[in-house]
Subunit: 210 residues, 3 copies
């Protein structure tokens, strides 16, 4: 028997970021269909659907989903790869990811949010900002005018991107990091938590603290 | 003659943080009964009650109070000891400290605020956050999911606590400091302003800038 | 023929900060008369007035204006000089600069904003804060109680000024920088992005990252 997709959203992940995403969905008036995770999870009082394979069996036509996986990089290793892979797997299975806008977010009217973009509580996106597919602006991030964030990139809690910054596909900017005006961060590059990127960073590059 | 406690709140302290706390009380629709301070203060147009001893004479049955003392640590010395001592002295005298929630604060619905917890203007507390008794999340602090802050701890202005952080009793996290995901800061430890805590810190420990 | 000044505001500058200022004006219900810039600009769908000389010819009696120039300092060189010069030139020509308050700004009731002061989206100004003429508190800056910011000073995105700080005329505090409680930053001094000012800085001084 094939279930008909509903307006409720499938929540992928059962950990901390999933709780944040669930709260975001509630703020948006959306309900959660259940949790997909490799381990059973009941932390949020939601039904446990099973793992990815179980989700694909149960919803063969896809439906709406939200990615509740966070990502923590090691030294020079972006934590964005897992989120990207999971996102693309679900897209290939017919799922769609609505953009998410959390509590107290400040959005200029011309901000562009692609599918699956997540703007978490208290983040600020100024005029001309673009957030790519499955890109994440985490809690209280401040993203200034004309900054463009490519697909799958993650901007950590409280990070500061000055005006006209470019963040490459899958790049990671850690908590509280600063990227100065006009600086370009290459694909899959990492700016460590608390670091300051004062010049362009090549693809796969790493900016640490002094 | 014994005064009957009122719904107005006794403000302990007459300096800068007291002004912030008074503003917070006004946002919450509470009025101030007067100021308790070691030196007469009229900066806020409130009546001066006297010092602690005078307050205890005048309100022998206690009442509601709010702690308006900030705290600035030295090298490795937490600034939380004074706030803790004053709080506990008033508790022993029958005073109660309602939790305070300031202007533009973002609180997830399941956040737990203990007695005397202070969430100052613009702070963000994500799902699962707990703020202990007399703990302080100062101006614009960003506290991510599942972080637990123990009694009497102080989180400075604009500090960033990632998800799943644990802050010990009386610990101090300075302005703009970052504590990475899952890191545990021991009791009475200090993370200096602008520092990044990347691993656990022992009780009484100190994390400086590089 | 002399145009009569209108309630619409002349926007000086056609780049990124001008877009932010225009968004701020819209939030405040003000409309833009057009853009003054050295190069023709149509990025915002506003009419191009011409350069400064053209503006002075067209509005010989002055009118209301808003300064849309940002400022990026080099090593030790404040970026505030240009903004100051342009502001003073327009003042001398009879223009007035209303204070600007952006989206989601948190202002204590007793905050004082002088003419031309700009409080950009998400900034927090606590009780007792004063922002001088043509001073700028950029995106998400957090300015704690009793801090006084003198004329023409710039506080960068996400910068943190603790309580009782004094910022001198034309000083520049970079993105994400922290100025500790009670510290005085002299006129035309620069605190680099991400730096922490722990003690007073002399006029024209520079605080870098460690």
């Amino acid at each position: 028997m094939t279930e008909v997709p509903t307006r409720a959203v499938l929540l992928i992940g059962g950990g901390g970021h999933a709780r944040v995403v669930r709260d975001t969905l509630e703020v948006m008036g959306r309900t959660c269909l259940g949790i997909v995770a490799s381990e059973p999870s009941s932390a949020m009082g939601l039904s446990y659907i099973g793992d990815d394979a179980a989700a694909f069996r149960r919803f063969p036509q896809g439906g709406e989903a939200a990615l509740g996986l966070g990502g923590v990089p090691g030294q020079g290793v972006p934590g964005t790869a897992l989120r990207r892979r999971v996102y693309e797997t679900y897209i290939a299975r017919g799922f769609r990811f609505p953009p998410l806008i959390g509590r107290g977010v400040i959005l200029a009217p011309d901000v562009v949010l692609a599918d699956g973009a997540q703007v978490i509580a208290g983040a600020i996106l100024q005029p001309g900002v673009q957030l790519g597919r499955n890109a994440l602006a985490n809690t209280g991030a401040r993203i200034d005018h004309d900054t463009v964030i490519a697909d799958h990139a993650m901007i950590g809690p409280g990070a500061i991107l000055c005006g006209g910054v470019a963040i490459g596909v899958g790049a990671y900017v850690g908590a509280g990091a600063v990227v100065l005006q006009g600086v370009r961060i290459g694909p899959d590059a990492v700016v460590a938590a608390g670091a300051v990127a004062t010049r362009d960073v090549e693809a796969g590059g790493f900016v640490g603290r002094p």
